[in-house]
Structure formats: structure tokens, C-alpha cells
């Protein structure tokens, strides 16, 4: 039957809008892993977002109750697989806290060097993948080009490119090979000028600013209430960085290092004079600011790695021999958080004493808390802004589901 319209008003009378449930994921490419978001939408407007997680749950905590702390190190790699070194460090530090183990100076500088290098790699992926979320492909390729060189350096140091298990309880599994520091310095010299290219591609790009400025506003109070940490918290203007404000056992690693916490003060970020100014459309706490904090943290980490190279090469002593695989744990419990690229990564260990296997191993994930604020950020936004908001949190599902 042909559909002839005598009176167009009739069909308009029939058209009505309904609330609709839209499933985003678990295989959506812009969800950084297997995250499923159920959106309640009315037309283009999202009224409610419900994240469903657990698709990548690998029972890490249960496994941790059956292995010695050093044997669990490889499982921490697989939590935040983009920053394996930072995960290793978090767990190693908490076990050392329980054992009351002090590290030689050289081992501490080695750790700073390695984790800050990994932070650069992780933020580069965060930046590239965020561009991908917003529909630009090239920054992703540039970011991976630079990250590849960091992975080459890591491969030379420990043999692995993604799941390192390099930093471990007592220090590291091996010292850096000969000539490594020089390669690392060459890489940093080459990386520095490239960063301003990324700023041209994204930070000051008109389309990018339009997609991120004023979207996903997170107030400082809400960020603290939801336990958001890392660049997400600092992007809201809260001056908090565990490398400066954390526990003494962690901050002593950074003793004597010159660095400023990346947070906005009076419309400016520290050391941002070489970079595009903060666009007028942006509001503190939106997606753009979270992204910019990460970009500036790359610069900060380059600076820290350079300082660490100097200190490492001039300090004497051991690089930190790891403890025995079956080293006995004293009775007690310890909790500690470190500043991983995505926020504060906490580990909790409980030991009954007498054995090498902990009674309980617990991981507090930074992305887990950062993701829990999504439903607040996405309320009332457009469907197209959901990837922009979730991407700006820079989550890694391996860490959320553990």
C-alpha cells in the first residue's frame, strides 16, 4: 500500500518521544575495555547512566591469599596494564612497610626513574586514546610512536614490554643494563620537542576544545566525596598529590626532587608558559582540564626522570636485591597508597604471622573510584558527550575489575 499523506499534520500528531534504554558496550571501542554503560535517554539527552563492571574480574584478591607477596607481583601488573611498574611499586612498598624494610638510596632513585618513565607512557596512551574517543585518529599514532620507545627501554631493563614485574619487594629484579641511562636521556631529549606537537593536535585544537570545554563538570567537593584521585582530582583544582602529601615511606623516595604539583592557581598551571593558554570556554573541573593536567604531568615526569638519572648515576650502594620468594611475613597489617598515573592506588595486606602467604591481599583501585562518579557527570548530557566524559576519566578496566 502506498503511503500517501493527505494531511502532513496527522503524522506529526502521531510522533511521540519515549524514554529509551541504550546499551553502550561492553564492546564499545571508546570505553577503554569491557565497560557496559546503560543509558536512559530521552532523544539525545541522557538522564541516567548505570555502569556495569566486572567483565574483566580475574579474582586477583583471592589469588593473592594463596601466593607469597613476591609471587603476586605479576598479578599487580595485570591490574593497570598501562602502568605495570607503578602497580608493582605500590604492592612492593606495602609489603616492605609490613616487613619494616628500608631500601638503599640507589634503589629508591631507580624506582623513581622507572615509575616516572612509566607515567609518561601511560599518560601518552591516555592522551592518544582520548583523541580516539573524540574522533581523531592521528594523536593516537603519535602517542604510540613515543610510547614504543619507552617500552623498548623497559624491555631492555627487564625483558617484558607490558607486564614487567620489575620492581619487587626489596628493590628490583635486576640492575639497569650498561648504557641504558644514556639511551634514556637521548629519548627524553627527543620527546621534549614532540610534546608541543601534541598540544597543537589536541590541546588548542578548536574542535577538541568544543568537545571537551564545559563538559562533565566535576566540582572539588564532589570529587573528594566520590574518592576521585590523581589527575581527575587535580583537574578539579584540588591541590593534592601523594608524591608530596603521602606517607613518609613513599614521599622519602621523592626527597630532594624539585617538582610542583600540577594544579590550577589563578587561571594558570605551573610551568605552562610554553604551552597554549587555557581556553576561555573551559571551566575548572571539566574534561579539558583533566586532559591538560595529564599533559603537563608528562612534562613534570620528564623533569623527574632527568633528576632521577643524575641521582641514580651518582649514588653508591646496591640497586636493591629482592627478598627471598618465600620470605616470612611478620604478624600485622599495613595499608598504603601511592600516586599511580590514574590516581591513588592503595594496597592492603594482612598477615597472621608464621607464614609467607598473606591472610588477605586487597587492592584499592583508583579507576574504580573515578568511574563511580560517572553517573553524576553524565546526568543531562548528550549521548555524544558520554565517550568524552568517560574518556576524560582515563580508566583502565583491568584495574577496576581486578
Amino acid at each position: 500500500m502506498s503511503t500517501q499523506l493527505d494531511d502532513p499534520r496527522i503524522i506529526e500528531f502521531d510522533v511521540r518521544t519515549d524514554e529509551m534504554l541504550v546499551n553502550m558496550g561492553p564492546q564499545h571501542p571508546s570505553t577503554h575495555g569491557v565497560l557496559r554503560l546503560v543509558l536512559r535517554t530521552d532523544g539525545e539527552v541522557v538522564s541516567e547512566t548505570t555502569p556495569h563492571i566486572g567483565y574483566l574480574h580475574r579474582c586477583a584478591e583471592k589469588i593473592g591469599e594463596n601466593l607469597t607477596p613476591r609471587q603476586w607481583i605479576p598479578y599487580t601488573d595485570r591490574m593497570d596494564y598501562l602502568a605495570g611498574m607503578n602497580m608493582n611499586l605500590g604492592w612492593a612498598l606495602v609489603v616492605e612497610k609490613l616487613m619494616n624494610l628500608q631500601l638503599p638510596e640507589k634503589a629508591r632513585h631507580l624506582r623513581v626513574l622507572i615509575v616516572e618513565l612509566n607515567r609518561i607512557a601511560s599518560h601518552l596512551v591516555g592522551m592518544g586514546a582520548y583523541g580516539l574517543d573524540l574522533g581523531t585518529f592521528s594523536p593516537f599514532l603519535y602517542a604510540f610512536r613515543e610510547r614504543e620507545k619507552i617500552l623498548d627501554l623497559f624491555e631492555e631493563a627487564c625483558g617484558a614490554r607490558l607486564t614487567y614485574s620489575y620492581l619487587t619487594v626489596g628493590g628490583a629484579t635486576a640492575d639497569l643494563p650498561a648504557g641504558w641511562l644514556q639511551k634514556c636521556e637521548e629519548f627524553l631529549d627527543q620527546l621534549l620537542p614532540v610534546i608541543s606537537e601534541y598540544h597543537t593536535l589536541l590541546t588548542s585544537n578548536a574542535i577538541f576544545v568544543r568537545r571537551t570545554a564545559g563538559i562533565g563538570m566535576l566540582s572539588p567537593e564532589m570529587a573528594i566525596d566520590y574518592g576521585c584521585t590523581g589527575p581527575v582530582l587535580r583537574g578539579s583544582g584540588v591541590d593534592h598529590d601523594l608524591r608530596r602529601d603521602g606517607e613518609q615511606r613513599y614521599t622519602e623516595m621523592y626527597d630532594g626532587y624539585a617538582f610542583e604539583v600540577i594544579v590550577e592557581k589563578d587561571g594558570h598551571y605551573p610551568k605552562d608558559h610554553d604551552y597554549p593558554p587555557v581556553p576561555k570556554q573551559t571551566v575548572l573541573g571539566d574534561c579539558w582540564h583533566r586532559f591538560y593536567v595529564r599533559m603537563l604531568e608528562v612534562m613534570q615526569s620528564i623533569d623527574l626522570v632527568r633528576q632521577a638519572i643524575d641521582r641514580y648515576s651518582t649514588s653508591t650502594g646496591s640497586w636493591g636485591e629482592p627478598v627471598k620468594l618465600t620470605e616470612k611475613l611478620p604478624k600485622g597489617e599495613a595499608y598504603m597508597e601511592t600516586e599511580a598515573p590514574r590516581g591513588q592506588m592503595g594496597f592492603y595486606i594482612v598477615s597472621n604471622g608464621g607464614g609467607a602467604i598473606p591472610w588477605r591481599a586487597r587492592a584499592r583501585s583508583s579507576s574504580f573510584c573515578n568511574l563511580s562518579v560517572t553517573h553524576e557527570l553524565c546526568r543531562g548530557c548528550l549521548i555524544a558527550d558520554v565517550p568524552a566524559i568517560v574518556g576524560s576519566l582515563d580508566i583502565v578496566m583491568g584495574e577496576i575489575d581486578r
Binding site: I53, G54, H57, C59, E61, K62, E65, K97, L98, M222, I224, D225, Y226, G227, V238, H240, D245, E247, G332, E333, A334, Y335, E337, Q344, G346, Y348, V350, N352, W359, R360, R362, R364, F368, C369, S372, V373, D401, R402
Partner: protein
Amino acid sequence: MSGTAFLERLKSKFGDKITGENLSAIDPWIEVAPHGLVELCTYLRDEPDLRFDMLNCISGVDYFEPDEKKAVKVDWKPHTEVVYHLSSLPSKTTLVLKVILPRWKDDKPGELPEVPSVSGVWSTADWHEREVYDLSGVTFTGHPDLRRILCPEDWVGHPLRKDYQMPLEYHGIRGR
């Protein structure tokens, strides 16, 4: 503020709701009775000189030794602990609270122990409590939406309880 002075202050305010402490531990902790938990947490968050505004982590720890030979050697009675790690951004201090619960409510096996939810005090507790419920089997009364978060909704049992048995099969997948 020193640990003892802080503890005296809490004890004078909350009396017998503070049921224990260990100030010599690596991370000194204070034990609180379940019925005083929400009141204490609100106080810790709102008091101007304390301002514990961030809840870092909630962990459930099950103390139970399934092996009878080993069970006679341990120096504790079976119980479940819920551990709250708090921190204060303004004063850069941390605090550990513990709630000690029986393994089963009223000692009836299968009845999960109960503790009041603090999701009204810190919003981040919402997901953390769901995780503790899912994995350690503690019910949080007053929680707005207490369902499993990491395991599938139809999963049976709470894997981090020490007497947990892997299911024989789950939707045709062999378990053990």
C-alpha cells in the same frame, strides 16, 4: 594530635561505642561498635579540625581457619572485620576504623552479618560497600542499591570468605 589524645577525645564523645583500639600497630586503628559507626563517621567528616573528607577504602577480612589442625593454633576467634581507611586532605592525616562482626548474623550459618552503610557520609562508599558485600559477604543496612558488582548477579556465595567453595559448574562451565 597524638594517638592517645585523639582516642580520649573520641571516647569522651562516644563512650562505649568505641570498643577497642590498637595504637601500637603499623597503622593504628580504632574499633567501633556497628550501631555507632554512622554517627562517628559523620563526626569525623564534619568536625572542623578533623575533616576526614575522603574515604579511601573499605575492606572485608574474614577470620576463619577451615583447616581444623591449623585452627587450634590461631590466637583469634572466628570473626569478620570491615576495615575503613580514611584520610583528610586538609590536614594530610589518615585514620583506620574497624568494625568487628560475627561471621554469621546471630550465629545462624547462611545469615550474612550486618553493618550500617556509610554511603550517606561518603558517596564513594556506595561502590566499595557493594564490593565488600559481593566478595566478603557483609550486608550493609541502609545501602541504596546493594547488589553484586564484580561477580555476575546469579553467582552463589561470597568468594573471599575462607569457607567458600568454588561451584561445581556455572552455566555449563566447569568450576572445579
